[in-house]
Symmetry: C2
């Protein structure tokens, strides 16, 4: 799947991910009005409104981009109906040929991580049959529990040609509280980066990149530069561009000299673009077209920043 | 809710949690046969089999124990039907008067942690209405992202009288890989323990314990002893007893002198007791009675180990 991702990045010339992390506040009133009339202001109504919102954006941008990232928390907050919207979105994105990253940040002791890996990337056995529970292409994973929480994910990735992105240096303001603490003179995120590189060493795709990737926030470009060198065969998923403050120029050092090695996520900046002054002309009803315009602007911003 | 938990622990004289972490391999054949005949060997069949299995155990043990812990991964691996079984189990346990700990190990950047907190412990707004997505009483939380991933959980705990247990020193073999690394001469888990204490300082219940608890594995009793002293007002959820190797005698130092401060989880050792030689006489059909006998034995084991 890392090879499929790379191929799509090359084809679209867009090392970007659209983050389908919907909040009800982002969903235009005309969608909510219609759905709530049919289903009421219920969890089912919320799930349906989010799904329709997502579908509009996917239809408007799928030809421009290689991948989407779904932050499952934004769905999980609506309970089962929210997770049904998550699953519908995963399936629809795959139908449209997009690589789907489940931003689930799971991770636990070995036997439990195995269940998460199976549920999100693999197939679970029921009697004689096998089923995919959620069936994303990639999942994000939290490494606080160490190697035996990661290995079950790597095993499923190898068996089913899937991938993971392991949290190394996250984009949020307090990420340094633990991740930057010095251990034998080096910050924890460097030790983590080395481990990610080690975990993925035997899981290389044909393009030379590993199925085991890393998450490093766009908000920490200096750390990104160091981690890029520490993990040469690791694809880096970079959140924090746009609404969280990261800019195109900050992203240069997340990439390798081959122009590959990083994929930049933007969520709010794309899916709620119509609420920004720059895209206000599209109006509520043109929210999906506003997202398309924002994707094009993001691709240009990153392209301008990268050396050619 | 921490006060409700303590009151129930005192009433049952059982500082224990039964971990409802079902695997299909634990579900007796007579349940699976019946369910699969009705629903096929499908994800729906798996969810229903797990739910019926859980219900049998809950009915057999609910009067003996204060709380249950549901490892959501074991449900999530079956996709939406698995999560429906999770939700049914949460609701049924609450109906039976049990405190429900969602072992979800969520944690993310601030806005995302807020969605998880709302989904598992709070209520989400849909138009003019509010709904609980999953509605556990406690959730476990992963702290790798630092304070701004924790605060939204604490906020919901304070508003809705719920609680969290933050991962400090986990029970798995490789937990030391990062958690034991020395920072300024002290292991990361000690720094984490201090942070947990700090995060919960302003969220004390009437009994003097905080709504912000910690997870420390029974498999690391020496570390438990140190952490007990570092976090005097913190309730410690202790996994790893039984199948993972922790014994009653290992648990003494997780408790305070008031006999409170810790709650010990056993999952496989209780819910799959009928597969152990000691409880084989109950047979497959007596699996729930075997679980009851195993709960009684566990309460005795821990009671014997604690000073009176």
């Amino acid at each position: 799947m890392i090879d499929v991702l790379i191929e799509k990045i090359k084809k679209t010339k867009a090392p970007i991910v659209v983050g389908l992390d919907p909040m009800l506040g982002y969903v235009p009133e005309h969608i909510k009005d219609k759905v709530y009339r049919e289903r009421g202001e219920t969890l089912e109504g919320a799930g349906e409104a989010i799904w329709q919102f997502n579908k509009g954006i996917i239809d408007a941008v799928y030809d421009l981009i290689p991948a989407v990232k779904l932050q499952i928390a934004m769905y999980e907050q609506f309970g089962i109906p929210g997770l049904i919207a998550f699953k519908r979105t995963v399936d629809y994105c795959r139908e449209k040929g997009l690589v789907v990253i489940g931003d689930v940040k799971r991770g636990d002791i070995g036997s439990t991580s195995e269940a998460y890996a199976v549920g999100h990337l693999g197939r679970v056995k029921v009697g004689e049959n096998e089923y995919a529970g959620f069936d994303e292409d990639f999942a994000t994973v939290n490494p606080y529990l160490g190697t035996d929480g990661i290995k079950p994910f790597v095993k499923v990735c190898d068996e089913r040609n899937k991938g993971i992105f392991v949290l190394v240096k996250t984009s949020n303001p307090s990420s340094g509280e633990f991740q930057d603490r010095l251990i034998d003179g080096r910050p924890l995120y460097e030790w983590m980066g080395e481990k990610v590189s080690e975990w993925g060493r035997d899981s290389l795709g044909d393009g030379g990149y590993s199925r085991v990737g890393a998450v490093v926030g766009a908000t920490y470009p200096e750390q990104g530069k160091i981690l890029r060198k520490l993990m040469p065969r690791t694809y880096i998923l970079v959140p924090g561009y746009g609404a969280q403050g990261g800019k195109g120029a900050d992203l240069v050092h997340f990439f390798n000299n081959d122009g590959l090695g990083a994929i930049i996520n933007s969520s709010r900046g794309i899916i709620a673009a119509y609420k920004q002054e720059a895209y206000a002309k599209y109006g509520d009803k043109g929210y999906a077209d506003a997202s398309r315009a924002a994707v094009i602007a993001m691709i240009e911003d990153i392209d301008t920043a990268l050396p050619h």
